[in-house]
């Protein structure tokens, strides 16, 4: 039987859609083999890289990965650390020894560092097979997020909101003079002048909705200029 690609590169596909026929094609992420066919297992954008076919999801919950920088919210203060909600199906633990670059003495009042409901910009340091997740505050740029406001976006769109080497978020910061921290877990912290914050939020929402389209950078720029 001949081999045949049933889709075009960068097309949006849905679960169950046959992407290619033939054993020459290799099922990558988000796809599976059914007899001789490669079939979509996710809704997303299909990419064909040589013979490997994979799907980049368009939506979906954040799943923690080591080294990801995420925004966590303190939901419990424990004996020896904090429990954080990191906007995913599993909570994370920030232990006392990873809680700060300074030494935290045993028995210290942990709420003095991070109290219930407060947000922190932290880094995932370990994830087990059961998705038990550890985070740390030891690392450059990690900090408690005071003041400001938090918005939540589709976590799958975070790479587009950050942009190539941070170009998109840099553009928004420059145009709005806001401080912005983007967590891989779909949480974004913004702090600036009220009107400017609103412009930053509008720009982020625009990218979130149009990330799969072309020419987003230019239209975001135009949008922010219009709103100024």
């Amino acid at each position: 039987m001949s081999e045949k690609l049933e889709i075009q590169n960068k097309e949006i596909v849905v679960p169950g859609q046959v992407l290619a026929e033939g054993m020459g094609y290799v099922p990558g992420k988000g796809t599976y083999r059914d007899d001789k066919a490669v079939v979509a297992e996710l809704m997303g954008i299909v990419t064909v890289d040589g013979k490997v076919i994979k799907i980049i999801p368009l939506r979906g919950k954040y799943m923690p990965k080591v080294r990801d920088r995420v925004i966590g919210r303190v939901i419990d203060v424990l004996m020896s650390g904090w429990r954080l909600d990191i906007n995913c199906p599993y909570d994370a633990v920030l232990s006392m020894k990873d809680g700060s670059s300074e030494f935290i003495r045993r028995g210290a009042d942990l709420t003095q560092y991070y109290a219930l409901g407060e947000y922190v910009f932290c880094q995932v340091s370990n994830v087990t097979s059961q998705n038990l997740t550890d985070v740390t505050m030891r690392g450059q740029g990690l900090r408690k997020l005071e003041g400001g406001r938090i918005i939540e976006v589709n976590a799958q769109k975070i790479p587009r909101i950050i942009g190539k080497e941070g170009s998109m978020v840099m553009l928004i910061k420059k145009e709005t003079n806001c401080q912005i921290y983007v967590g891989q877990n779909g949480r974004i912290w913004i702090s600036g002048e009220p009107e400017k914050e609103n412009i930053a939020v509008a720009a982020i929402r625009y990218i979130e909705e149009n990330a799969h389209r072309k020419g987003v950078t230019d239209s975001v720029k135009a949008l922010m200029e219009k709103l100024q």
């Binding site: 849905v14 996710l42 999801p57 979906g60 919950k61 998705n131």
Partner: protein, 233 residues
């Protein structure tokens, strides 16, 4: 009195007019609306998220939990009392079983994916509409699925095998009565993940009904795919 002409003038294999939309509930992780004739259904997916109480958790994979509910004003007769009934719980269970074979929740041990189905107006076929909408909502939520699930009720009214029965057809009291058979179909494999029946049927009619359901499911499946893709146009 035989039933050779359908009340609403449809051909035996013809489905009622359908429409669908995804993303109708922005708060949800995935959502969809599906309308077939006068039956309207919303489905929302929340999760995967933490499952409480803990004893319900499965350490190997996430679990699927379906909730089916008719809005109080959606019934054909009196107001439907809010809250769970034996009927709504059984329907939720069969919908859950219809969707489970395609879902892969192995990445989410101990978590739950919740599906909420709500119907604002009904004219038969609600469990099938629920499956069609829920299936789109699960795909929209970005969950791993082998394929979409489509569903339709087929059956025998009088002596005719027909697809997508209305409430009036289910209530047909002429000779031969009415037999209603809701089915969920996995289009790729051609297998059946929901099958129930109310009424009587012989083997020939059963075979014809199965064939009819598969053809009907194909149309619904095409609409599901188109609807999902349209969301990103």
């Amino acid at each position: 009195m035989s039933y050779d002409k359908r009340y609403d003038g449809r051909k035996p294999e013809e489905l009622r007019p359908m429409s669908a939309k995804v993303g109708v509930i922005p708060n949800a992780d995935g959502s969809a609306m599906f309308q077939v004739g006068n039956t309207v259904c919303y489905a929302a997916v929340y999760g995967p998220r933490e499952l409480h109480p803990k004893f319900l958790q499965d350490p190997k994979k996430g679990i699927l939990r379906v909730n089916y509910n008719m809005m109080p004003f959606s019934g054909h007769g009196d107001r439907v009392r809010p809250g769970r009934s034996r009927r709504s719980q059984e329907i939720a269970l069969v919908i859950q079983n219809a969707l489970l074979p395609v879902l892969d929740l192995s990445d989410y041990p101990k978590a739950v994916v919740d599906v909420f189905i709500e119907l604002p107006q009904t004219d038969a076929g609600t469990r099938c509409a629920g499956i069609v909408a829920a299936s789109m909502a699960l795909a929209h939520a970005g969950l791993k699925m082998k394929e979409l699930v489509s569903a339709v009720a087929v059956g025998k009214v009088g002596d005719s095998v027909v697809a997508d029965l209305t409430y009036d057809e289910e209530a047909f009291e002429g000779e031969g009565g009415s037999t209603d058979m809701p089915m969920a179909i996995l289009a790729n494999s051609g297998t059946v993940s929901l099958l129930q029946m109310d009424g009587e049927i012989n083997k020939e009619h059963l075979a014809t009904s199965l064939d009819l359901a598969k053809k009907a499911a194909q149309q619904i499946s095409d609409l599901q795919k188109k609807t999902l893709k349209e969301y990103y146009q």
